[in-house]
């Protein structure tokens, strides 16, 4: 390219949207993904694109594509690292179906995605063309063969000289590709270039000016390249929200929720995919007088949180499956001694080390029934990013009101998914009151269980006259170790009654769609958006399908049984394993239902069927629709 031509293009790019050569095709939504070897910045590119879209007023949902290893071999099918962004005209609540447009930094990571069936048939692919001229003939051949094969199978492949273009702007072109791609995508989706420049400045805000300038140059070059070289252009109409929105991922929202809940101490041990919540909390907690304690293991983290809760305000411990397993004995202690505790479990694929970076809803039953003996505790599941924030405040309140353990279930998909939600307005009521240090009236008992609710006032160290020893042993109202049958049942009853007392305060969850019909889909946790979108699609066809989403799973609010019974068929849709009747040995007598289906069947005596996927990927609405159709047709 001649120097003048390049200057020209830059000028054009600076002029931004005004010089659009091609008319943009309007789309209601599009799914775009950027994939690269890890360390090439695809995620940063995608997150920036998502922010630009959100700032433009579009609905967004991001899904990170994370290889299990930190540094998988370069150019490998299993090493695909990147991000998928679903951009819509309206609010987006999940990652959606397959990708419409993919930008790939090499053909191998692209193959990984194609083989996994993640690209729509006929999808557009923008592929880095540097490999065409590689020294290694094997790489050249692989590139050419893949290109030919993809074109043959109907993909629209556009080659882009990514590295070559970037080399003109920076010495280590490999590190600049992501911002070039960001510019190109802004051109493709008709985003305002100035908005994109602002976003780059924000993204590199902590770095010095020259870094920002270089990246803005790359962005502009990418934008110009897109304008000049691509014969397609889209626009996804958007309406700007008139309220302030925050865009964060689920783990950040959890950390913000901890901050807002008035909890002081978070004890943790690093484990994917929970850790990033604690990373962020470590960053900001101390500014408001809190602290993150990285314990020597999860057992210690749980015990530390219990000790802190016992002596001060309710504490939180954040973990993921294997760490949750280690906390089980401590959770039993908190249940028995009635010490408030919030335990966050950001679920991942299991059992054992399983799929650390991938999503699975596998820990519901261990949360509800886990620990040992009869250990009633509250189990909530967050259903979206905003819910991650507010659930922490609710969890802390419940824990302290009922002196109970509250388990909050999130998962790997929500951990990294970004979506906007209205900026919360701080309320003093969110915070925990100061630790009660008032004297205990004479004759008051540390476990004076209320006859109806089972709740007892907690005595905290420092309160004169309240001295007693809490214990994990069976104890009487004075907290004295007691083995007699009557006292044992008295304690069990009180601890169990507290769940009922909480249950009486819970509202029946709303039905999404008509209150009765042919099929009800029940879900919990991160699948809310997918399920509701699937149900919406079917309702648009006139099918009588509705959905019910559960935020509280232990206790289950009143009124659910009635809802289930108003539908001809009920099916639970979950992201965990459930036996499939197609398997030769599986029948009604031995089928292991998915977790929620099992719980609903046993509680309501309703024939709740289940459909599930445990592929380590967020469930796609298209797959849910297929399953629901099959369920509707069953027996016809």
């Amino acid at each position: 390219m001649s120097e003048t031509a390049q200057l020209d293009r830059q000028a054009q790019a600076k002029a931004g949207a005004a010089t659009r050569a091609k008319p943009a095709v309007n789309l209601p939504e599009h799914i775009v993904e950027v994939i690269s070897d890890s360390g090439e910045g695809a995620q940063r590119c995608g997150q920036s694109l998502a922010s630009i879209a959100a700032r433009s007023g579009n609905g967004i949902w991001t899904v990170e594509i994370i290889p299990a290893e930190i540094q998988p071999p370069a150019r490998s099918v299993a090493g695909a690292s990147g991000i998928r962004i679903r951009i819509g005209s309206k609010e987006v609540t999940n990652g959606g179906d397959e990708t419409d447009l993919a930008v790939a930094f090499n053909e191998q990571v692209l193959l990984g995605r194609v083989r996994a069936g993640e690209l729509k048939p006929g999808a557009t692919i923008l592929l880095e063309s540097i490999w065409r001229e590689h020294r290694d003939p094997a790489i050249v051949k692989s590139y050419n063969d893949t290109l030919a094969a993809l074109t043959k199978s109907g993909f629209r492949v556009v080659e882009m000289p990514l590295e070559k273009e970037c080399r003109a702007l920076m010495t280590d072109a490999r590190r600049g590709k992501n911002m070039f791609v960001l510019g190109m995508l802004c051109s493709i989706y008709s985003f305002d270039l100035q908005l994109a420049r602002d976003q780059v400045a924000l993204t590199f805000g902590k770095k010095d000016r020259s870094v920002i300038e270089t990246n803005v140059k790359l962005l502009e070059a990418g934008f110009a390249w897109g304008e000049a070289n691509l014969d397609f252009k889209y626009a996804i109409p958007a309406t700007k929200s008139n309220v302030a929105q925050v865009v964060t991922n689920g783990n950040t929202a959890i950390a913000l929720g901890v901050l807002a809940s008035g909890m002081d101490i978070c004890a943790m041990y690093p484990i994917t995919p929970a850790t990033s919540a604690s990373h962020y909390l470590s960053e900001c907690f101390e500014k408001v007088g809190g602290m993150v304690h990285q314990a020597e293991d999860e057992i210690a983290a749980c015990a530390f949180a219990i000790g802190a809760s016992y002596a001060g305000r309710c504490a939180v411990t954040i973990t993921s499956g294997p760490g949750y397993a280690l906390k089980q004995e401590g959770i039993g202690l908190a249940v028995m001694a009635e010490i408030p505790l919030v335990v966050v479990n950001v679920q991942r694929g299991g059992p054992s080390t399983g799929q650390p970076t991938k999503v699975e809803q596998g820990d519901l039953l261990t949360s509800v029934y886990g620990s040992h003996g009869d250990a009633p505790k509250v189990v909530m599941a967050v259903s979206g990013i905003e819910d991650c924030f507010y659930s922490m405040i609710t969890a802390r309140k419940i824990a302290e009101t009922f002196n109970m353990v509250v388990v909050v279930l999130s998962d790997a998909s929500l951990a990294t998914a970004q979506a906007p939600f209205p900026r919360p307005t701080f309320s003093e009521e969110w915070l925990a009151p100061p630790v009660d240090q008032s004297p205990i009236p004479e004759g008051a008992k540390p476990y004076d269980w209320d006859a109806v609710t089972g709740i007892a006032r907690r005595f905290s160290p420092g309160q004169p006259g309240g001295m007693h020893t809490v214990t994990g042993l069976a104890h009487d109202r004075m907290s004295k170790v007691a083995y007699d049958p009557q006292t044992n049942e008295e304690g069990l009853r009180a601890r169990s009654l507290k769940l009922a007392a909480l249950q009486k305060t819970l509202k029946t969850p709303p039905v999404f769609g008509d209150p009765e019909g042919d099929l009800l889909v029940v879900g919990w946790g991160s699948t809310k958006g997918v399920i509701e979108e699937s149900v919406e699609r079917m309702r648009a066809e006139g099918l009588k399908v509705s959905a019910l989403h559960l935020r509280f799973i232990q206790p289950l609010p009143s009124g659910i049984g009635e809802i289930l019974r108003r539908f001809r068929k009920v099916i639970a849709v979950e992201g965990g394993w459930g036996d499939r009747l197609e398997d030769e040995l599986i029948d009604a007598d031995n089928r292991r239902y998915t977790a929620l289906a099992m719980m609903l069947r046993s509680r309501y005596l309703v024939d709740v069927d289940c459909w599930s996927e445990a592929r380590g990927q967020p469930i796609k609405p298209g797959n849910v629709v297929k399953a629901l159709r099959a369920k509707l047709d069953e027996g016809k």
Binding site: V247, I299, A300, A311, F426, E428, P464, G466, G472
Partner: protein, 328 residues
């Protein structure tokens, strides 16, 4: 002698406590169990230091020895097996104003809780820790413990234990940030009291290993030491113990040892016979984790509001220009 007025005013306000103010219930330990002697020393310390019972917390794990908090009329936390340390750390972090004590057994501390023990030393939080080392699992009825001597016949080692015992003193003295290590024996109450008192006044993680008799399961274990005072080595120093003249007449095997000398401390610690009694090591300058982490800082509603708003600003998309300026 007349008491100055200012002092009598203080006395009026300051409640003095008697031994009974710290005693709760009748200990259920076997007759002759060394835990009784530890309890007596600790109750005496509480009285002498006039500790506010409501500001004092005893944390324990599980075992005969971990019943300890139930016998104190203070706050107590009888936890789960092996986890007394992290529970106590949580208590101290949330409430650095409380006096925190830990009672743990040789199984509780050196076996199931060993990881926590190592890290508790490293955290060096201000608490007084008593390891009730009876060389056996008492509560579960006589199994070998990590401190059981080779050859000990127990229910899990009927032909005699085969492993070398772990030495809690040398272990503690090998951990980064160790700040106070002492050893006491349950049968010399005077020294036990002195040691517990020194430990209490040390700011940091004060670790006392008490050799504790379990007459129920190991009735003869420490007979030789009881009968022959020369098998006990008293560690004396201006900064350590100064045994009374009476005691000095019985326990003539004495050695001056400066608690600042960690190399000498390690050497002494490795001696099983004679048993060293006294302060092996003390470094008052090791920082406490709760101080490093700013525990006990007051937290105001305003601070949370401001902090939260500042965090939200980082992620906010404002609907209008004016908002964008606010975010900048």
């Amino acid at each position: 002698m007349a008491t100055p007025l200012s002092q009598s005013i203080i006395k009026l306000h300051e409640e003095r406590h008697d031994l009974e103010d710290y005693q709760s219930g009748v200990p259920r330990w076997c007759t002759g169990c060394g835990d009784n002697a530890i309890l007596a020393a600790v109750q005496r310390l509480c009285r002498d230091e006039n500790l506010a019972p409501e500001k004092t917390v005893f944390v324990s794990g599980i075992g005969c020895s971990s019943r300890f908090p139930h016998y104190m009329k203070t706050y107590g936390f009888h936890g789960i097996h092996g986890r007394a340390f992290p529970i106590a750390e949580g208590v101290k972090m949330a409430r650095p104003d409380l006096n925190v004590f830990v009672n743990t057994g040789d199984g509780d501390c050196c076996s199931i809780g060993a990881a926590h023990w190592i890290h508790a030393l490293r955290y060096n939080m201000n608490m007084t820790v008593i390891l009730h080392d009876n060389h056996v699992y008492g509560l579960t009825k006589k199994q070998a413990s990590p401190t059981s001597p080779v050859g000990l016949k127990s229910n899990t080692t009927p032909r005699g234990s085969v492993l070398e015992p772990l030495n809690p003193l040398t272990v503690t003295l090998g951990v980064a940030n160790v700040s106070f290590v002492a050893q006491a024996v349950d049968w010399i109450p005077e020294l036990m009291y002195e040691i517990v008192s020194k430990a209490f006044h040390h700011r940091g993680f004060s670790f006392i290993r008490v050799i504790q008799r379990c007459p129920e399961f190991l009735p003869k274990m420490f007979e030789p030491w009881l009968h022959d005072p020369s098998k006990t080595l008293l560690l004396t120093h201006d900064n350590g113990l100064q045994p009374s003249a009476d005691l000095g007449r019985i326990y003539k095997n004495q050695r001056a040892h400066d608690p600042l000398d960690i190399h000498r401390a390690r050497e002494i610690a490795s001696s099983e016979d004679p048993i060293p009694v006294g302060i092996l090591y003390q470094d008052p300058k090791v920082p406490c984790y709760e101080d490093l982490r700013g525990a006990g800082k007051p937290r105001t509603v305003e601070a949370v509001r401001k902090g939260l708003d500042a965090e939200f600003d980082k992620f906010t998309i404002w609907p209008d220009e004016q908002g964008q300026e606010r975010a900048a």
